[in-house]
């Protein structure tokens, strides 16, 4: 029995990791600049843009207030448009990414706002251009917080990826639902839960380790 289960479990774990890290990567690519802009577009700040601040803020909040399973179903037409299908592991990356972007944006915004205003003033005094303030000061100083936040995002996405299993995405959630629940296989269900716990622990430990390495504030 284990000889048939193990390959399926391994395959499902890889699918989950693929979905999570692909959506984390795309979500960061879009959420990072968005978060920096959210943190720096206020009045008197680096990239002052009150209209952006007033429109993007509510959009980000709105996306975050939709329960993920509803979001995943609601954007199926958009997913079809993008990937050609709404079923499968690659299709699941679309709703996962859409959910990740506002999450990451708020986390980056928070981490960037934590940077001491004195450092921004010092950068200006040294003749930094606005983009240099971001790349040379804000992002390096916010890095430990950003890594913590992305770790949190990854863990949340692992949970979400199990949910998209319910709408035909593959991965550990799909395995748990189809084998564990629908075929009454408590042993499969247990194996899925244990694997999820191990994956989450590993991601958390890796994130903590990287954040500690990046943090030079307490040596």
């Amino acid at each position: 029995m284990w000889s048939t289960l193990l390959p399926i479990l391994g395959q499902a774990t890889l699918e989950t990791l693929y979905m999570v890290f692909a959506s984390l990567a795309i979500g960061t690519a879009i959420g990072l600049p968005l978060g920096v802009l959210l943190a720096t577009s206020g009045r008197g700040e680096l990239f002052e843009a009150p209209v952006f601040q007033k429109t993007i803020g509510p959009i980000v909040n709105a996306t975050r207030s939709v329960p993920f399973i509803i979001l995943a179903v609601a954007i199926i037409p958009f997913t079809r448009l993008l990937v050609g299908t709404s079923i499968g592991t690659s299709a699941a990356i679309v709703p996962l990414t859409v959910a990740a972007i506002p999450f990451i944006a708020r986390i980056i915004e928070g981490a960037v706002r934590e940077v001491d205003g004195g450092l921004i003033e010092a950068a200006h005094a040294m003749g930094a251009r606005p983009m240099q303030v971001v790349t040379k000061v804000l992002l390096p100083e916010a890095l430990p917080g950003i890594i913590h936040g992305l770790t949190l995002t990854a863990v949340t996405l692992i949970g979400y990826s199990a949910m998209v299993g319910a709408v035909g995405a593959g991965g550990l959630g799909d395995l748990g639902i189809r084998y564990g629940y629908q075929r009454f296989r408590p042993d499969v269900m247990a194996a899925v839960v244990i694997t999820l716990i191990v994956v989450v622990q590993a991601v958390q430990m890796l994130g903590d380790h990287l954040a500690r390495k990046a943090d030079k504030r307490n040596i």
Partner: protein, 270 residues
């Protein structure tokens, strides 16, 4: 080197706070190579004044001439280029926690697009100048306050500026460290012939470091002149009270004694 003419700065009213007038007509000339102190109590406008020199604050009216150019007329694109000609040292050091001592000092050069060899050539002589040869690869969290300020000073010097602005640079330091940092600044001024503008609320800093002093109160300069003259014969009540804070036995007319009591009373300050 620096000429401020009829400088005004008003912060417009915002939700919850009324309009605030920080500077009401400042005229100040600073010659090349001299150290000018600007002293005043909190809220006197001295921080705004020093930030108007490198335009961290844009004055509401008046002109700021630095090295022959009215810098208030510079475009947004040219402003960073101008600021790279000035160094600034801060009360709370403002070092990047994510960078080593060396990389912190290198930052102004990196911003200006200098190559790795140019950066090394600029920093290698600076480290012994500020006494940090052995701390080169340490992070700010591993340094004492005085060492952090030495990094701040080296960073302000790395882009080879003509002017260094010092904003309450010793206010977060203990008396002994304060003395060392002031001696270092004095030494740098002598060696490199730099012009320095020093903001402080302590007369002891003016006495040890400055050639000339301007006393501020309520957004105006109430008195200015050579340091010896001001200490010997303070005219304005604000000056007299600032001196009285520093030298407990100071009374107008017995200023000659203030000089001798200075060294002892500085020690009691902290």
């Amino acid at each position: 080197m620096i000429r401020l003419t009829d400088l005004h700065k008003t912060y417009p009213a915002r939700r919850g706070s009324p309009e605030h007038v920080a500077l009401r007509g400042i005229d100040l000339d600073i010659a090349a190579g001299e150290i000018v102190g600007v002293i005043g109590r909190s809220g006197a406008g001295k921080s705004t004044l020093i930030r108007c020199i490198n335009l961290l604050e844009m004055p509401t009216s008046g002109s700021v001439i630095v090295d022959g150019t009215d810098v208030t007329k510079l475009s947004k694109r040219d402003l960073p280029l101008f600021r790279r000609q000035l160094g600034m040292v801060f009360q709370h050091f403002n070092l990047l926690s994510s960078r080593t001592v060396y990389d912190n000092i290198a930052l102004p050069l990196e911003l200006a697009g200098a190559s790795k060899t140019e950066i090394a050539a600029a920093i290698d002589p600076l480290l012994p100048l500020v006494g940090l040869e052995d701390k080169r690869d340490r992070y700010p969290a591993e340094l004492s306050g005085g060492q952090k300020q030495r990094v701040g000073i080296a960073r302000a010097l790395s882009s080879n500026p003509k002017v260094v602005l010092c904003d309450e640079v010793t206010s977060a330091l203990d008396p002994e460290t304060t003395r060392q940092i002031l001696a270092l600044l004095r030494d740098i001024n002598k060696r490199l012939g730099l012009t320095m503008v020093v903001i402080t609320h302590e007369m002891a800093v003016v006495k040890q470091l400055c050639d000339r002093v301007a006393v501020m109160d309520g957004g105006v300069i109430v008195e200015q002149g050579a340091v010896e003259g001001i200490f010997a014969n303070p005219q304005h009540p604000t000056t007299q009270s600032l001196l009285a804070d520093e030298f407990l036995d100071f009374k107008p007319g017995v200023a000659a004694n203030a000089d001798q009591s200075a060294s002892t009373s500085i020690g009691q300050e902290g």
